[in-house]
């Protein structure tokens, strides 16, 4: 194989591995934002789940049980966020930042005082397809949870765009007063959206820990939750474009890691800030082509 193809394969492999956790969490954050809640706590969901998955894998001896625990922990963070901001109406950004600080503090403490060990789920290698040039290894030799995306992405789309639940959810995000008038329980839908968001962000964080890395280290998500929020904004609140955003951000990160080793000089600061720049530019330039929910990040309380 030529060296160019080999380099391309390396970059693509690492790009997919960097994008996959973002893609899981983005499916969740997309649903939450369509429901009108903007939860910065997606970082806390991912980090808590990453820690929980390794801890539970250590306790049970099963990495798959760890993955499941991660999903549950993410959903727990989601339900706490939901209760605070859509039951008690605490500002959603405040709740998010506080939860992020809380989970970062707790997991940093626990990982320093205890040894969690290494736990990793099995690798899948698809016979035949894995031998394809360039694309084979990046796409068909992966830890198995990554293939859950193939089911979760269509499911997320169907839930939001085609189910009755999704319709009510979008109404809650677009025009909560009108939704309330027709009998939709706006805050309940938002809490449910946060549960879905927590479960999927948890899966993303757990996949990062028991799927890719195989261990937990302090602050291992390192701001990936904020990247996910940037991806949803970059995608203009459309699922497909959001996932394209995740892929672009993953590749940018892969390039930053790979290019210096291949003898190219890169401006790593520019590549790290690219996602945030792109998200800001998308908000400035494409406002008319976006599906920004009308009541995004605005609390709903019935006037009484």
């Amino acid at each position: 194989m030529s060296t160019v193809a080999a380099d391309l394969e390396t970059i693509l492999s690492s790009g997919i591995r960097l994008a996959a956790p973002l893609a899981f969490a983005a499916c969740g954050e997309y649903v939450a934002e369509r429901a009108g809640t903007l939860n910065v706590s997606v970082e806390a969901m991912m980090l808590g789940a990453a820690f929980g998955s390794i801890a539970v894998a250590g306790l049970t001896g099963s990495a798959t049980a760890g993955l499941l625990a991660g999903v549950l922990l993410g959903a727990l963070v989601g339900s706490v966020h939901g209760a605070l901001s859509h039951r008690w109406h605490v500002n959603t950004f405040v709740v998010g930042l506080v939860l992020n600080a809380l989970v970062l503090g707790l997991t940093s403490y626990l990982v320093t005082v205890g040894d969690l060990g290494r736990h990793q789920v099995a690798q899948v290698s698809v016979p035949g397809l894995r031998d394809l040039p360039v694309l084979g290894a990046p796409l068909f030799v992966e830890r198995w949870p990554v293939y859950l995306l193939l089911a979760l992405v269509p499911l997320t789309w169907w839930l939001v765009e085609r189910s009755r639940w999704g319709l009510e959810l979008r109404a809650a995000g677009e025009n909560p007063e009108a939704a309330d008038m027709t009998g939709i329980r706006v805050n309940l839908r938002r809490r449910q959206a946060l549960l879905w968001c927590g479960a999927l962000a948890g899966l993303g964080g757990a996949y990062l820990a028991v799927g890719e890395v195989g261990s937990f280290n302090q602050n291992m998500t390192a701001g990936r939750g904020y990247l996910v929020i940037a991806a949803v904004i970059f995608g203009g609140w459309r699922l497909g474009r959001t996932l394209v955003g995740c892929a672009v951000f993953g590749l940018a990160d892969a390039l930053r890691l790979a290019l210096p080793a291949l003898g190219h000089t890169v401006n790593s600061q520019l590549l790290i800030s690219a996602p945030y720049l792109l998200a800001l530019l998308a908000m400035l330039l494409f406002t008319t082509r976006q599906r920004r929910p009308g009541a995004l990040a605005q609390p709903f309380r019935r006037a009484s």
């Binding site: 903007l38 910065v40 605070l84 008690w88 109406h89 605490v90 500002n91 950004f93 405040v94 709740v95 930042l97 506080v98 939860l99 600080a101 809380l102 970062l104 503090g105 707790l106 940093s108 403490y109 626990l110 320093t112 005082v113 205890g114 701001g223 904020y226 929020i229 940037a230 904004i233 401006n267 600061q269 520019l270 790290i272 800030s273 945030y276 720049l277 998200a279 800001l280 908000m283 400035l284 406002t287 995004l296 990040a297 609390p299 309380r301």
Partner: protein, 346 residues
């Protein structure tokens, strides 16, 4: 405050005290010893108190700014980035401008406030032009600020330190000249009262008076409490919010310059010079319910936790539990605030 609200707060405050103690006990430590170390390291002797007061100054400056923006309804959560931009501009002014004598310190502080104010104003501009949510844009710009500073200190023709002999240049700037540094107020045995704290308290009092006693403050508070009524009364809510956001950024930038020029840092611009002061300062404002004068003792409390946490690390207990306490305390104070009807940032 409703009764449910009081209950929620009480439970969370209890959790803030009990949970860390429990965690220490479960992992084989002594909660009592940890608490003693926390107090010893922050209030135990003159050196400890000096350290606590050093931390209080930038925390207070950030918090006072956060009070302004939150009260106006333009909710700024990008203080961490604004602190960094302030430190960057302060370092650039201190190292590049040929200003004689201690006037250089004034120039450093002003440059920091101006640059960070402009940085925050960009969010107000994006909000005005395209309706971009202020909380979202200030948050995203924090991550940009981190990379801007990282770029400046790794680029030789910008602010990276000049190489000395064969040693490789580190990702940091040169040391600021000593006349650009914040000095100690008076000479007390053991106790260091840094000028930064005086700056912080003066600013807090000025902003408190401006918010509560001037027409500007009245308009700002009105725009935050009821934008529709404010608009009806002829107040330009976007303009008022934009000014509040700029002031908030400028004060965060000032905090960055205080970090740069006080003994809290090595007096060099480094990528981690902000040491989470921006995030913590925002929490201080939330606990103080957006009242600048109340922010003075709360900033003191957070400074105690910070200085004590550092000391705790020296005794073998990982200091991260302090962050858990801070987060839970904040939660306890914001939860009931919004159960009351007149909260500003619900």
């Amino acid at each position: 405050m409703t009764r449910t609200g009081a209950w929620v707060s009480a439970v969370i405050v209890a959790a803030a005290v009990v949970l860390p103690g429990l965690l220490i006990a479960v992992t084989g430590g002594s909660p009592a010893a940890a608490l003693r170390a926390l107090i010893q390291g922050s209030l135990g002797d003159a050196t400890a108190v000096s350290q606590t007061l050093l931390y209080a100054a930038p925390l207070l400056l950030v918090a006072v700014g956060a009070c302004c923006s939150a009260r106006s309804g333009a909710f700024n959560i990008g203080q961490e980035g604004q602190v960094l931009i302030g430190a960057l501009a302060g370092a650039a002014a201190g190292l590049r401008l040929a200003v004689p004598g201690p006037a250089l310190l004034v120039v450093v502080l002003l440059a920091a406030a101006l640059a960070a104010g402009a940085w925050a104003w960009l969010s107000a501009l994006m909000n005005r032009l395209r309706g971009v949510d202020i909380a979202v844009s200030t948050l995203l710009m924090t991550f940009l600020a981190q990379q801007v500073v990282a770029f400046a200190v790794t680029t030789p023709w910008l602010l990276q330190e000049s190489r000395l002999g064969a040693a490789a240049a580190l990702p940091q700037s040169n040391k600021l000249p000593s006349r650009a540094l914040l000095g100690s107020l008076g000479d007390h045995p053991g106790l260091q009262l840094n000028l930064g704290l005086a700056v912080g308290i003066v600013v807090a009092v000025l902003v408190a008076v401006a918010l509560d006693r001037t027409r500007w403050g009245f308009r700002l508070t009105m725009a935050g409490l009821n934008p529709a009524a404010a608009r009806h009364a002829g107040i330009s809510v976007t303009a008022v919010g934009g000014i509040a956001l700029t002031v908030s950024g400028a004060l965060a930038g000032l905090a960055g310059a205080v970090l740069l020029t006080s003994p809290l840092s090595t007096n060099r611009l480094q990528p981690d010079i902000s040491i989470n002061i921006g995030w913590d300062g925002l929490l201080v404002a939330l606990v103080a319910r957006n009242r600048p004068l109340l922010a003075i003792p709360i900033a003191g409390l957070f400074a105690v936790l910070r200085a004590g946490g550092n000391f705790l690390a020296a005794t073998g207990v990982p200091p991260y539990l302090v962050d858990v306490v801070k987060a839970l305390l904040t939660l306890a104070f914001v939860a009931p605030a919004v159960l009351r009807r007149r909260s500003v940032i619900a």
